[in-house]
Symmetry: C2
Subunit: 256 residues, 2 copies
Amino acid sequence: MAQHDNTLKSVDKVFKMVEHLKTNGGKTVTELSQELDMPKSTVQVYLNTLAKNKFVVQNGATYQIGLQFLQYGMYALWNEPVFPNVKSKVEELADTTGELAACFVEELGEAVYVYGTEGNRAIRTDLTMGDRSGLHCTASGKAIFAHLSQERIEEIISQRSLERKTPQTITDPDELREELKQIRERGHAYSKEESVEGMRSVAAPILLDGEVVCSISLAGPANRFVGERFTSEVPDIVKGAANEIELKLTYSESGL
Amino acid sequence: MAQHDNTLKSVDKVFKMVEHLKTNGGKTVTELSQELDMPKSTVQVYLNTLAKNKFVVQNGATYQIGLQFLQYGMYALWNEPVFPNVKSKVEELADTTGELAACFVEELGEAVYVYGTEGNRAIRTDLTMGDRSGLHCTASGKAIFAHLSQERIEEIISQRSLERKTPQTITDPDELREELKQIRERGHAYSKEESVEGMRSVAAPILLDGEVVCSISLAGPANRFVGERFTSEVPDIVKGAANEIELKLTYSESGL
DNA sequence: CATTTTGTTCAACAATATTGAACTAAGACG
DNA sequence: CGTCTTAGTTCAATATTGTTGAACAAAATG
């Protein structure tokens, strides 16, 4: 541990406990005590504190993550002024194409999945709102990545490892820089099975005053995302939708 | 303050700070210091801790609630085994009726709004997933309330005040007990502008092994929810949907 | 460039988190 | 039934850690 990390250790431990409950499901006092290597009495105090604040809920003898988190998470979501517009447009995209439409936001150098809807023939993913991944391995992530400032791009490349998800994932920094350049020229990003095998997608950034606020994407099975459809039809649909959102945003912004 | 409240004070304060950020939007160190009456250096340590755990995000000089909450909130949601079934059925209800369809869950004696979809002519509400309200003032709340154990009902009535939301809200315990009895006999609950003026709704509980797990509801403007439609048509639709969910649940449960 | 404001660092001190031991409650078992 | 076992709870001493102002750095303001 570093000398001065300037953090509250008890709070760190509280979050560690919450994480443990998320990963391992509901637990009793004794289980937590053993698994986290803390005395029972300490666990009790922690759970009392979490329960008092509704972040953890007692169900008989077991404690679980509470719905209180949802309230704060939803606040963070709706706090982004783009969100309402993006949400309805994503739903429209899923409806008209039948594929999986989604929206990602950048936070702390990661892509966060904030909304998605499945069209009637969409592929199924196990993505849940709030899930995070590297910016380098999805179309949505790359669409955002490409439009960050040059310094921020280099900062993120140097700080985060370009983790390999599939054989197609771009893990070489130089290759990534070239890819981002192409995305800026093209106006949209592709993923050719770079995060999930068998899944391809197309994403476009949403820019407001030159700043990227999020990206929207369409994803589908590799066999449907080929040829003309993949290289021009789907990109046009996605970019069109992104454009409409941008227009609504600038309109509503000036209309204040 | 009580003698021994057996809670971690620093953690309580962390949550207080998060709550402040939710209520008042992004804040700087100095603002928080003034508004929460804490020294700047203390605020700093708190924000460092929250930021390190991604629950708060620094945006220039201001700190905001982070999307990390979303991940835990979503976990809590999907942790309920009913949720996937309920979600699709609620969407179906909104589609076929054009009204506002929603699902509520009980937690800590409160109704928590966990999912909702607006049909094409639905009334607009400012409800956000994760919002909480008393069990006594909505159709969804009462539908759940009525099917809790008798002891739990009395416990909740005695511990929580039956807060008045509109002139129609039931605030008298005896009146509420009678209402709950009728709901049990009828199989569904009504709200006649008891939480929001001009809004009526119909809700049905979803029971699994005799335990109520959540409720689903349809809400609409008072002028559309009248006569035959309000007393039999909508209730039949809602109860039908609830039944289908119950069947799917018992089926998938035994199928394990 | 001077001035004010805001953010950050640090080490001493006070506060509080931590702990085991003692206690109670609930189940298991014969 | 009563004993044994296991799980949950309480509490007061101690050591750890949270808290703080003061001093510094950085940025914004005039």
